[in-house]
């Protein structure tokens, strides 16, 4: 009964690829931004903070449409990228990864920010009196202590990315083999007269992936507390 068809496999593997790429590319930016928000005071900080959280509160279709306007083939940035660098996001799986990265960004940043805020700054001071330059303090004290938070953020971001639907379908449409992720495949299947069984299988798969991600995230959070208490 639970036989996954090649077309379904394509959607599952594409979803995994999109979510993995989105998470891996977004993570360095997420760490930089989380550090900035946790450790620095600057003009426009609350605006930046709001901007990071925007994809969480905007209707996903709005985010997708904004992406289309800016990064679509005729968008301001998109046209320039296509003409000068040959990079095209519209209707490509990379565009799906971009949409997923943007949508999952707030969920990625938050745990990282919280774990950086939880680090005792006096440890960073101690590190600098031992001769560590600011980047060494970050690399040897801040980042290792925040690592469980970074992993938790990555897991959450991944889970969000793999389930993303609205922004992705708006930005890159629903092309089997190129931009059709699990979510958009389910959407297509439930609009097809006898697609119920296939949709059901994909629902099970996406539930398993999401549950796995949540359990992993919980495990990382527990390790974080343990690590900060030095056991």
């Amino acid at each position: 009964m639970f036989e996954i068809s090649p077309a379904e496999w394509t959607a599952i593997l594409l979803s995994l690829r999109v979510a993995v790429v989105a998470t891996l590319v977004a993570t360095p930016f997420g760490i930089a931004l989380a550090w900035l928000l946790a450790r620095r005071e600057f003009w426009g900080k609350s605006i930046l903070d709001a901007l990071v959280h925007l994809p969480l509160v905007l209707p996903p279709v709005v985010t997708g449409y904004l992406l289309l306007l800016t990064l679509g083939r005729r968008g301001l940035v998109g046209a320039w990228l296509a003409d000068n660098l040959g990079i095209v996001f519209a209707f490509r799986w990379t565009g799906a990864a971009l949409a997923c990265g943007v949508m999952s960004f707030p969920l990625l940043v938050r745990p990282i920010r919280l774990s950086i805020e939880a680090i005792d700054r006096r440890l960073e001071q101690a590190s600098s009196t031992l001769g560590a330059a600011p980047w060494q303090v970050f690399a040897t004290v801040t980042l290792p202590l925040a690592l469980p938070g970074v992993l938790a953020g990555m897991v959450l971001g991944f889970a969000k990315a793999i389930g993303e639907f609205g922004a992705t379908i708006t930005f890159v449409s629903n092309i089997p083999g190129e931009t059709q992720t699990i979510s958009s495949a389910i959407y297509s299947l439930i609009q097809t007269p006898d697609g119920d069984n296939a949709a059901g299988r994909l629902v099970v798969v996406s539930t398993v992936i999401a549950m796995g991600a949540l359990i992993a995230s919980e495990w990382f959070a527990r390790r974080a507390t343990k690590r900060l208490h030095g056991n």
């Binding site: 001071q125 600098s128 009196t129 031992l130 040897t140």
Partner: protein
């Protein structure tokens, strides 16, 4: 030689301190809230004076009128904090090695062996800070600061968070350290402690230096 002549406003509290010290162990004495920690944080470079000069062995570390501020990591001033501040994600061995790695110093087995012996921490090397007693933690913090090869060592109430019997446990190590010859600034509110360790006293009261001289100013 250490020369300090600084002013700093911290909320309601104003600190105005000026002293010179030739002594091997300068005891910074005063009640809590006298500004001792702020003062050595300025010597370490963690806090910037509003105005003034800090110089060590003819090198200017801070000079606000010339816009000079050497950041903490370039001062080569070791700091032992009251609460040790060992890195919880590193074991004792890695904590001890930290300063050497950051300063890219060559490995010095002899120095490492001598200091672990001196402080009696050789048997703790594989433990995490969370598995150490308060006294052990403080000894590791001492070793960690010493192994970064500082030219001045700041100690901020290193016995402050320990009970009486633990203090008795650490004090002999501090005396041994003094005899090593590294110049130290030792902060304490305990006159008895300073009488045992210091060679020169700077007495601080509500942000002002009220007495300077040998240990007899403590009486």
């Amino acid at each position: 030689m250490l020369r300090v002549d600084v002013t700093k406003q911290l909320g309601e509290f104003s600190l105005e301190a000026s002293f010179e010290s030739q002594g091997r162990v300068t005891g910074l004495f005063g009640a809590s809230g006298a500004g001792k920690t702020s003062l050595i944080n300025m010597i370490a470079g963690l806090l910037r004076p509003d105005r003034g000069i800090i110089a060590l062995d003819n090198e200017t570390l801070d000079d606000t009128s010339a816009g000079v501020h050497v950041p903490p990591h370039r001062r080569r001033i070791g700091y032992v904090f009251q609460d040790a501040r060992l890195f919880p994600h590193l074991d004792v061995r890695q904590n001890l090695d930290y300063g050497r790695r950051m300063n890219r110093l060559a490995e010095d087995q002899a120095q490492h062996a001598r200091i672990t012996d001196l402080l009696d921490i050789g048997h703790l090397l594989d433990r995490r800070p969370g598995q150490l007693s308060g006294g052990e933690r403080q000894r590791v913090a001492l070793g960690r600061a010493l192994l970064s090869k500082p030219r001045l060592l700041l100690l901020d109430e290193p016995l402050g968070s320990l009970d009486e019997s633990r203090k008795e446990e650490i004090l002999p190590y501090l005396v041994r350290l003094r005899d090593e010859g590294i110049p130290m600034v030792y902060v304490s509110h305990d006159a008895a402690e300073l009488r045992q360790l210091a060679t020169q006293i700077v007495m601080l009261k509500r942000g002002r230096v009220t007495a300077l001289g040998g240990v007899k100013v403590l009486t």
